[in-house]
Amino acid sequence: MNGYIESGYIVTLGALGVYAASLVGRERSARRRLPAPPARGTAPAEAPEDAPAGDEGSPAPPPGSSGTGA
């Protein structure tokens, strides 16, 4: 084989790995910065309209702030 093939695989796997790790790291640090959701069994003050699975009980954003973070 020649260097082009190995380079292609290394660049692809390396870039995807770095991107995946950065997403997981950013997600974890964002969770740390945010306050904890209410404990199980306690009703949240407002149910979040569009929180994904795993964010149950997280405080809902104020009206008009359904944002565009991505």
């Binding site: 306050p35 959701p37 702030s65 359904s66 944002g67 973070g69 991505a70």
Partner: protein, 281 residues
Amino acid sequence: MSLTSPPFSPAGTAGPARAAEAPAPPRGASPGRRRTRRPRTRADSALTAVGLVGIAGVVATVWLGLWVTPPDEFMGNLVRLLYIHPPLAWVMFLAYGVSFLASLLYLWPRTRSARFDRLAGASAEVGVVFTGLTLVTGSLWGRPTWGQWWTWDPLLTTTALLFVLYLGYLALRRVPGEPEARAKRSAIAALVAFIDVPIVYFSVLWWKSLHQAPSIDLTTRKTYVHGSMAWTLLLGFLSFTVVFAWLVAHRYRLAVLEDREESEGLALALAERRAEAPEAP
């Protein structure tokens, strides 16, 4: 700190009503800092499983592509780059397709939801990563095959244009503004940028191109690879699709957290301003 103190309320202020109901951090923890571990949900487990399947698939593709499949009659060992290059390009199309559909659903008044806006942004961002990798692996294949790293071929040029268009789309999403207006203009930009996607795909058929025709022609359903090469290519397509799903899911979750952070930061700023204001007699 009292057990009823809201984590995000500045001292001496009531803070937003919903923050007051959030549990206090454990003793010794600074206000606003989370110390307890979030309980693992089914969604977390499912996402981990998807990630592991994606990694296993990619590892198998690399193993088959580099060590098991035979060299090509014409391309020799360079064919091994094609076990990752077309799958990367496929995911690029898929990502922009998802972004297009999500943007369409956001713009449609009956289905308008921040979910679709986030999904469009998440998918486009992952798509940009895959477009970059498609261009890089294509260039690495082109250098020994065509004798040059880059040529202004219709397919290459339209793909580079696609990369720039979606980079612009991601930049537009970061322009400050009222959230709904920001989401709407992003959705319109995604629809406009998507016009280039079919042009990229059909460019090798419409114009004279250095680039070879697709190995799997979606219009005629013909395949031009066979045997272990075909299976490895198919595995590459499936594996990178799973990896795409995992990345989009994580990017979406991050977007939810970013939105929460933004809204709670706003609530905190409002609470601080209210606290600073002199009380009415």
